[in-house]
């Protein structure tokens, strides 16, 4: 970090910025009175916030100034090493614990928590899918929601046209999304870094706008409703116990909880499938070359690797899982419209991947819990939850700029236990 003037000056400037930000946002409160809305100034709140910023900034600068820069970075390195080691040890327990929790969730959790669980798992699956493209292959994709949308609409349209159920349509939805991944990837994968990001961003928007305007096929802004719900080996989940329903077959009292539990296990299975395929692929030549591509494209070319097809496979596999997730989304909601597939979704999934630590499967789970579960959990804090959320992201950026889980496990090793590779050596594939 470059040195910006004296600590006192720096703290003063920070306080000034804080004043500019907080004066309108915190300093003015609207108050509904007898004569319409009145503005009530709150100088005390602003003053205390600005004061806090000043003191904090000064403290940070003084703390940084206490040691020379070189020692600082070495200390940070050693600390990072310790954290990585601890994380490695924790991971051995964390993964089985998370898995057990995920499996037992329907038994212990309330309905609303389970609903949230389905949502979190959907994002875990999307995160794992995007992780193939961004984390492994290092291709910055800002339009991942396009494949999610293609999967959802494919399922909805095919199911309505043919009368087939969720399980028969699922492969088609994945395949169509993969096909779109290849169609998009073919012209744009020569672009690198930021250019690729911009084009994929545009692609995501194009898909959404086509869905919005192709009224005869997609119903436009009205969306598609009455999408078939998933069945368990042909058993439907309904509120009656007639033959052919889940409740009727197992002689249970009909309950809407059955379907929710079933949906939960479906998305859990789909997400775990994504994870399993990714972990397998990582240890295969294909996955290894994706990572090599992220590390150094030019070296890959010198080793006889066809860069375009390799990138296309990453795009297609990532898109395929996005399509699966989309089909699940459609069957869960029973209704889809272009509104569900905005850029916000792409950004959220990308944030999960980046926050988790690029390329880390466990990181995606933790990040999805934080990003999706967090804001829901703190709903009681009303308006402040987004503030807290933003603050948490900023703190993350300062403390762990490479994400939650930053090391990489080698895909193969000669000696018994493979040692993790620290983040500093790993390329992020943006150039």
């Amino acid at each position: 970090m470059t040195n910006q003037g004296s600590p006192l000056r720096d703290a003063f400037l920070s306080a000034l910025v804080a004043l500019g930000l907080f004066a309108p946002m915190v300093g003015l409160q609207t108050h509904v009175g007898a004569h319409g809305i009145a503005l009530v100034p709150r100088p005390l709140a602003v003053a205390s916030l600005v004061g806090a910023v000043f003191v904090l900034r000064l403290a940070i600068r003084l703390w940084q100034g206490r040691r020379p820069a070189a020692g600082m970075s070495m200390m940070a390195g050693a600390a990072a090493g310790r954290i990585a080691l601890a994380a490695g040890r924790a991971r051995r327990f964390l993964v089985p614990a998370l898995l057990a929790l995920a499996l037992l969730m329907p038994v212990v959790a309330s309905r609303s928590t389970l609903d949230l669980g389905v949502l979190v798992l959907t994002y875990v699956m999307l995160g794992w899918g995007l992780n193939i493209v961004v984390g492994l292959a290092g291709l910055l994709d800002l339009g991942y929601v396009a494949f999610y949308a293609v999967g959802a609409y494919s399922y909805a349209l095919i199911a309505q046209a043919t009368g087939l159920g969720f399980w028969s349509c699922l492969p088609a939805a994945g395949a169509l999304a993969a096909l779109w991944g290849i169609t998009l990837g073919f012209p744009v994968l020569r672009l690198r870094g930021d250019y690729l990001a911009i084009v994929t961003l545009a692609f995501g928007e194009i898909i959404r706008i086509v869905l919005l305007n192709w009224v005869s096929l997609t119903g436009g802004p009205n969306g598609i409703s009455g999408i078939p719900r998933p069945t368990l080996f042909g058993l439907r989940f309904t509120m009656t116990d007639e033959p052919g329903t889940f409740a009727g077959f197992f002689h249970l009292a009909p309950s809407s909880a059955h379907r929710l539990v079933f949906l939960y296990y479906v998305i859990l299975a789909l997400a775990l499938l994504t994870n399993w395929v990714t972990l397998r692929l990582r240890r295969q030549p294909l996955g290894r070359v994706w990572e090599a591509l992220r590390e150094d494209e030019i070296a890959c070319r010198s080793l006889g690797i066809n860069i375009t097809t390799t990138k296309l496979t990453a795009f297609a596999v990532g898109a395929c899982f996005g399509g699966f997730a989309g089909a699940f989304f459609a069957t869960r909601q029973g209704f889809i419209s272009p509104e569900s597939f905005t850029f916000m979704e792409s950004a959220t999934v990308l944030a999960i991947v980046v926050l988790g630590g690029m390329g880390s499967q466990l990181g995606v789970v933790l990040a999805a819990l934080v990003m999706i579960g967090g804001p829901e959990m703190f709903r009681a804090l009303a308006d402040y939850r987004m503030l807290i959320f933003g603050l948490a992201l900023v703190v993350m950026m300062v403390l762990r700029p490479r994400g939650l889980v930053t090391e990489r496990k080698p895909s193969v090793s000669l000696g018994g236990a493979a040692r993790a590779i620290p983040a500093a050596l790993i390329a992020e594939g943006r150039s």
């Binding site: 290894r288 590390e295 690797i305 040692r419 050596l425």
Partner: protein, 279 residues
């Protein structure tokens, strides 16, 4: 002896220009099978550019590049896509600024180089996910080959360390081993001895001679004149994009054009050449 060995790479009237800059101008030379051919010249002479043309990173503006395998198959390199030059024509290279996969282990680096045979054994990747097919045997062979090369470059103990954490000299050797995992017929090395200490340079001499003797020809760009004179069979001298000398080490040492070029351009290299020229 020189006439007895067949031509491996035939560079004919090679020209390369970038806008107004003429990096290579009508350069012709031949690299023969089973030999180490050195390409020397002052900085900016066009050596790396020539390598980039040969390995498909640049498309030459003029001239042709013809590679002939021992079985008589010919390849017009100038018209081939870069990755096929490595895979089909079997020309491997290293880079002037090392380009390893820094975040991957030494072993992984060597496995990426064996991607083509491994991928062929996976049945388009699908069978390998399910753990089917001949993949397991292919992987074992690939690991054995990697282990053999790690042993040869004295890095077996660090097989599972990330390439980016290896010392500089080890990274240079690893890059050569990675290129050799392609089973090339021609290995192009861009300044492999840059930054090495004398002991490492001596080890590199031995490594390169061993590679040559096992049948892989070498095209070598190097500023270390001592090394060039020691190990090369044939030397090509470039200056300002033109060829100004071509011959055996003894001939080059005595060539007044070459000495003049070095004296004019680069004191350090001129000193090195003068020292190498002294008996």
């Amino acid at each position: 002896m020189a006439t007895a060995t067949a031509a491996l790479l035939d560079v004919r009237h090679l020209g390369m220009r970038f806008g107004g800059i003429v990096a290579l101008d009508d350069v012709s030379f031949t690299a023969r099978r089973g030999e180490i051919t050195a390409v020397i010249g002052p900085n900016g002479a066009g050596k790396t550019t020539a390598f980039n043309c040969i390995t498909g990173f640049y498309r030459p503006s003029a001239g042709g590049l013809h590679l002939t395998h021992a079985d008589g198959r010919g390849f017009a390199l100038a018209a081939m896509p870069g990755h096929l030059i490595a895979r089909r024509a079997r020309v491997a290279r290293t880079f002037q600024n090392i380009r390893l996969f820094a975040g991957m282990t030494a072993l992984e680096n060597l496995l990426v180089a064996q991607h083509a045979p491994l991928m062929a054994a996976t049945g388009l990747g699908v069978l390998a996910i399910l753990g089917l097919g001949r993949y397991r045997a292919a992987e074992r062979r690939a690991i054995d080959k990697a282990r053999m090369w790690l042993e040869r470059i004295d890095l077996l103990a660090r097989a599972d360390d990330p390439a980016g954490a290896l010392p500089y000299g080890a990274q240079r050797r690893l890059e050569i081993a990675r290129a050799m995992c392609l089973d090339p017929v021609l290995l192009c090395l861009d300044e492999p001895a840059a930054g090495l200490n004398p002991r490492e340079t001596a080890a590199l001499d031995a490594l390169l001679l061993g590679i040559r003797d096992q049948g892989c020809s070498i095209l070598l760009i190097e500023h270390d004149m001592g090394m060039v004179m020691r190990i090369s069979d044939h030397i090509v001298v470039l200056d300002h994009g033109r060829k100004i000398g071509d011959g055996t080490p003894a001939e080059i040492r005595a060539d007044p054009h070459v000495i003049a070029a070095y004296l004019g351009e680069d004191d350090e290299s001129a000193d090195a050449l003068a020292r190498a020229a002294a008996p």
